[in-house]
């Protein structure tokens, strides 16, 4: 362990960093790219309303010219799009299996087609995001439990094959028995397909993704259910859409509760989810998902209301993925989110050590 007196020594004035932005100051302080935080909230008039709420204290930390410490993911928008289509495929596959098992052909058909369409889009997004698309097959060289992406590739491959057979059986009737097998196969792998992506994001050093690891799988599972239900609400006639309505309500509840916890219980690391692009996406997602769930339950007599609710749920799910993605990226770009929580952790450990020593 490094000498403790460093941490306990009161900060000498001459050692404290000069104001941020002074050239060559070396010890930049809170040089958040994009300027001081909460500007936007204040301009929108939200700051006043929330003035008495407990806020994250202003970060006091030192950095190397404000440069980020961890690197933000190099992924472009293909990855949040992949997260959405993967979840949509999973939700649709569950819808198809349930529809088939309970004799609702409209749900079965819509679910199978949506699952295949979404998983095909997933494949496109995934390969498009690779720096070297021709090397996609290298993903299949190994199976590593320590790599969520490796595990995901295998789940994705199994799901795609099963979903493909199920959808093909809709078009070619003689394949029906295979279709049933494929459909249940897809439904079995669907929950893994929907939730592994949460581990994929959390298993990084990106501060706000990693901190959210307990809740992210539930957000993604709920989001997948809600989007699958959205397909059911759009495609199925009113007399078959009952399960989709219940699925919409359950999925939306899971998604909203999980996202709420991610946005509020992580201290400083919740901040990136409330600000900027991520904040806008997640606020819009919350509204659309809530509206969609309400529409699904209340609009059961109206075909139009149900379809609108379905679209609302799908958009909400999409925006949730983009919001979570952007929040993590923002947390990686600002060294504050790396340094301050780690400093707090060190201080806690030092306090615990000190406590143990005095108790002896």
């Amino acid at each position: 362990m490094r000498p403790r007196e460093e941490a306990e020594r009161p900060r000498d004035e001459s050692l404290s960093p000069p104001p941020a932005g002074r050239p060559g100051s070396g010890l930049a302080r809170d040089e958040a790219p994009g300027g001081p935080v909460r500007d936007r909230r204040d301009r929108r008039g939200r700051g006043r309303r929330g003035a008495d709420r407990p806020m994250v204290p202003p970060a006091d930390f030192r950095s190397y010219y404000g440069r980020p410490i961890v690197k933000a993911a190099v992924w472009r928008h293909d990855i949040p799009a992949y997260l959405f289509t993967g979840g949509l495929a999973a939700g649709s596959a569950l819808l198809a299996a349930g529809g088939d098992a309970t004799g609702r052909p409209a749900l079965r058909r819509a679910g199978r087609f949506a699952a295949l369409g979404a998983v095909a889009a997933s494949g496109y997004f995934l390969i498009n995001d690779l720096g070297r698309p021709m090397r996609f097959l290298h993903m299949l060289r190994v199976a590593k439990p320590t790599s969520p992406m490796s595990m995901g590739t295998w789940v994705f491959s199994a799901f795609s094959a099963a979903a493909g057979v199920a959808a093909a059986a809709e078009v070619v009737p003689p394949l029906a028995p295979f279709g049933t097998v494929g459909q249940y196969g897809a439904a079995l792998t669907a929950p893994a397909l929907a939730t592994y992506t949460a581990v994929l994001l959390a298993d990084t050093a990106t501060p706000s993704w990693h901190a959210a690891y307990p809740e992210l799988p539930f957000v993604f599972a709920g989001s997948a259910l809600a989007s699958g239900a959205g397909i059911g609400l759009i495609a199925a006639p009113a007399d078959q859409a009952g399960p989709a309505r219940r699925m919409a309500a359950l999925g939306a509840a899971l998604e909203l509760y999980g996202a709420h916890r991610v946005e509020t219980t992580k201290g400083l690391l919740s901040e990136p989810y409330q600000q900027g692009k991520a904040g806008r996406y997640l606020r819009a997602a919350r509204t659309l998902t809530a509206l969609g769930a309400a529409g699904a339950v209340l609009g059961r007599r109206s075909r139009v209301a149900s379809a609108l609710a379905g679209v609302s749920l799908l958009t909400g799910s999409l925006l949730t993925r983009f919001g979570i993605f952007e929040g993590g990226q923002a947390s990686a770009r600002d060294p504050k989110y790396t340094v301050v929580p780690q400093r707090e952790r060190l201080a806690e450990r030092a306090a615990a050590d000190g406590g143990a020593k005095t108790a002896e």
Binding site: D12, R62, V70, K71, G131, R135, V199, W209, P217, L225
Partner: protein, 343 residues
């Protein structure tokens, strides 16, 4: 093959990765207290590994125009300009202002005709002004001319220079998350990317708690320091350590380096440099200790290092459990949705 500490905690990485009779673990000890910021390591690394240039960038914040470790910079010399350093380091040593203003003026006068005198008169000769007494306004917001007072105490401004590099962690997140097996553990306990296998997924990049590995924009692959795997296999010293003129970068068996580093810190403390501390040397830390560790003269974050990095695989079992729970919840929600009455 994999032991109980394979994901987190102290372990010798090469035997843990399955090497039988692995050679001793090799590493870097970078003593930043003797780094002079010459960037010989950056250049030597580029030369030996045939790394493309980064283009000509001026970051505008300091003399550091490399900025950080990237796919094209596997060594990076950080320049920290620090007002209010540690004056006690120089106590009792024959140090003062670098040169007297007068001698600077004399040295600057060449006596040769520059050809500009008849036409353009120099507005202010700052050096000459510095050598005279009395106030002459230079147009700069200073209360006094720099260097006017001859007996000025030595400024407490200090430079911290630090040659940063991949840490070759005992528990390397980049290696663990790589979905193609492109990153591998060498017999020396270091971490290397196989460039013909890397498919450019970029997962290793956000996984690194130190922000080391990076994607090269034109080919999409991830690149980082290999600790000159091709050299050390032949018993040679990595290019950066070989080129370092002050032995700030030391290469060798990790155990020996750790002993040497502990001795060096002790010595610096004896000399009154109480801010000297080691970083990344402790096998009990969040990444199981680094294969490349550092002697720093200030907090890690001042150099752009995370103060308490933790490998993400520490929480991976918990993450998979949460995902499994969420997956079960999802399946149950689907079953419940369809189990209700028809309608």
């Amino acid at each position: 093959m994999a032991g109980p500490n394979s994901l987190y905690g102290p372990v010798d990485p090469a035997p843990d990765a399955g090497y039988v009779d692995a050679p001793p673990r090799m590493g870097f000890f970078t003593d930043t207290s003797v780094c002079i910021g010459c960037k010989a390591c950056e250049v030597a690394c580029k030369e030996w590994n045939a790394i493309p240039d980064d283009g000509f960038n001026l970051l505008g914040t300091s003399y550091d125009n490399t900025g950080g470790l990237t796919a094209n910079s596997w060594r990076h010399v950080a320049f920290v300009e620090q007002p209010g350093g540690a004056p006690d380091v120089f106590a009792g040593l024959p140090v003062g202002p670098p040169a007297s203003p007068q001698s600077a003026v004399v040295a600057a006068s060449t006596g040769q005709d520059t050809g500009t005198e008849p036409g353009v008169r120099p507005a202010v000769d700052a050096l000459a002004a510095a050598g005279t007494t009395g106030t002459q306004f230079l147009g700069m917001p200073l209360s006094d001319l720099p260097g006017r007072t001859l007996d000025a105490p030595r400024s407490d401004f200090r430079w911290l220079m630090m040659s940063n590099v991949c840490k070759h962690c005992t528990h390397a997140a980049c290696l663990d998350v790589c979905p193609t097996g492109s990153l591998f553990r060498t017999e020396f306990g270091t971490v290397v990317v196989q460039e013909d296998i890397c498919n450019g997924c970029g997962y290793c990049i956000p996984a690194c708690p130190y922000g080391v590995i990076d994607q090269r924009k034109d080919d999409g692959r991830a690149w980082k320091c290999t600790m000159c795997y091709d050299r050390i296999g032949d018993g040679l010293t990595p290019a950066c350590a070989k080129a370092c003129p002050t032995e700030s970068i030391q290469y060798g068996e990790l155990d020996e380096l750790r002993a040497r580093a502990a001795h060096r810190v002790e010595k610096l403390h004896e000399q009154g440099e109480s801010s000297a501390r080691l970083y990344g040397h402790d096998p009990e830390d969040g990444v199981g200790g680094d294969g490349a560790f550092f002697l720093l003269l200030d907090e890690p974050e001042v150099y752009g290092l995370p103060p308490d990095p933790v490998v993400t695989t520490r929480d991976l079992p918990a993450m998979w459990k949460r995902a499994g729970l969420a997956a079960l919840t999802m399946a149950a929600a689907a079953v419940v949705s369809f189990a209700g009455r028809r309608g």
